[in-house]
Structures are given as C-alpha cells and as structure tokens.
C-alpha cells in the first residue's frame, strides 16, 4: 500500500510523466483515495505550468546596446 510519503517522493516524475506504467497506476490510484495528495499534485502541476508559461521580459535597450557594443569590439579584434 502506497503511503503519502511514497507519493511525494515520486511526485516530480509523476508530473513529468516519467514513470513506468505500473508505478504510475499506483500513484493515480493513491490520489483518487487521498484528497490531500490530490491537491498537492494538482497545485504543484499548476505551479510548474505557470512558470513554464512565463515569457522573458524584453531585454532593456540600454543593456542590449552595451552587449552589442562589447560584441562588436570582440568581433573587430578577432578579425584584425
């Protein structure tokens, strides 16, 4: 019988869909019977989804300008 601790230990692989069918079936069985683990799995899944959906902010133009200037100096020195 799977405990909540067993479930938590496998949670990342469970959410990444990185488990054998048999272990996966056991974990799925556990969350149908354990509301706490269901909530933990669901909210952790949403946590990952929200972060993955985050686009990087556009890079500030002054930062990009200094980057491009540094690169141009580098390129010029390499091709002398």
């Amino acid at each position: 019988m799977l405990t909540c601790k067993d479930f938590l230990r496998e949670l990342s692989d469970f959410l990444d869909e990185n488990l054998d069918a048999e272990i996966r079936a056991n974990l799925e069985q556990h969350i149908t019977e354990c509301p706490n683990c269901w909530v933990i799995a669901d909210t952790t899944r949403k946590t990952i989804k929200i972060y993955k959906g985050m686009e990087p902010y556009p890079i500030p133009s002054d930062v990009e300008e200094r980057l491009m200037q540094a690169l141009e100096r580098k390129m010029a020195s390499k091709h002398q």
């Binding site: 938590l8 949670l11 669901d42 200094r66 690169l71």
Partner: protein, 206 residues
C-alpha cells in the same frame, strides 16, 4: 535595429556561418537567446549589475570559443551552460556564503515541506495582471536557496531536460531530481498564498 534577414535560419547554420568568418549571423543568435540568458542570470545572481555582466561574458565567451561547440547538444543548451557557470562565479564571489556551494550535500529525505493544503482555481494566475504575476513568481523563486533555485530555473523556467540540467550544473541526475522536487514543493507552498481558491479560507475559521 536592423531587421534581421536571418530570422528563419536554424541555430546550427548560423553557428557554421559564424565559424566561416562572418560575424553577422552571431548577432542573430544573440538576439534569439539574450532575453533568456538575462533572465537566467538575474534569477541566479539576484543582482541586476551582475546579470548584465553575465549576459555580456556569456556571449563574448561563446563567440570566442565557438570552435569548441561540437554540435552534439543544442546551441541553446551550450549557451545556458556558459551562462550558469558565469552566474555561479558571480554569486560565489559576492557571497562567500557556504549555502552557495552547489556541491553541498543536502538532505533528500522525507521532510519535503508540505504545510498548506488548499485547492487552487483552474487558472489562478488570471486573477493577476502580468506585472503582478511576474512580481509574485520572481519573488517566490528568489526566496529559494541557491542550490534549489538554479535547478528550478533551468528545469522549469528554461525548460532544459533533467540530463541537460545535470550537465549544466555539474550535478548527478538524482541530485537534480531531489532538488527539483524540493524547489517545486517550496514554490507551491509560497504560491498557495496567492492562488488558493477564494472562500476556502472560511473553513479555517469554523
């Protein structure tokens, strides 16, 4: 800025063209990944000035050592690896804090933190503006210890695989997995404060 004529060309071709002595394709590679590298650098160093240094050093090093890129991994993974190394060096220099060491052994035992168990709405992030959400997510990541933060940033923000994350941080795959689990659970805990279903609090007072 000039509109790039190289927008549709894949990374490997741009790398090959740069190696042949044309510097322009490299600028396109920079444009493709500068945003992600800058974000990663900010997350790891937590310092805007250091992040800008890391951004520059990363692309300068990549340009200088482009002949060492063998093409058996993606260009993006290679760049991320350079960026992570530069960022960790900054971090170590700034804080000689032992918590910064990524080699430190951590307890991977049973005490994964789960204190708050409250259901969230289906798309709880939609309650917040883009700016508010960005602030909430960034400050939650910043509150993680460096050794969890780096793993989470690479794995779940930059979307590297477990193996690529292990390679970039010079960690074993099991170490990446245990740190990732901790990081995810800690973030879940922190975000529950903002994202839990409205009304569920009521029951806490009954």
């Amino acid at each position: 800025m000039l509109v790039s004529s190289q927008a549709g060309i894949d990374d490997a071709t741009l790398v090959a063209q740069t190696r042949e002595g044309d510097a322009r394709p490299f600028s396109e590679l920079v444009r493709r990944y500068e945003g992600k590298v800058f974000r990663l650098a900010q997350h790891v160093t937590q310092n805007r000035e250091d992040a800008e240094d890391v951004l520059q050093e990363t692309f300068l090093k990549a340009y200088e050592h482009l002949d060492q890129f063998r093409g058996d991994s993606k260009f993006y993974t290679w760049i991320v690896r350079i960026a992570v190394n530069q960022a960790l060096m900054k971090l170590r220099r700034r804080k000689s804090d032992k918590a910064v060491s990524l080699d430190e052994t951590i307890d991977t035992g049973e005490d994964n933190i789960v204190r708050e168990i409250a259901a969230w709405d289906e798309d709880p992030e939609q309650r917040f503006s883009r700016e508010e959400l960005g602030g909430i997510l960034d400050s939650a990541v910043q509150s993680l210890e460096p050794l969890y933060r780096s793993v989470f940033v690479l794995r779940d923000i930059e979307d590297l695989s477990t193996e690529e994350t292990a390679e970039a941080l010079d960690l074993s795959v099991p170490a990446v997995k245990s740190r990732l689990l901790r990081a995810r659970l800690q973030l879940r805990e922190k975000l529950t404060r903002y994202f839990k279903r409205k009304g569920d609090d009521l029951f806490a007072y009954l």
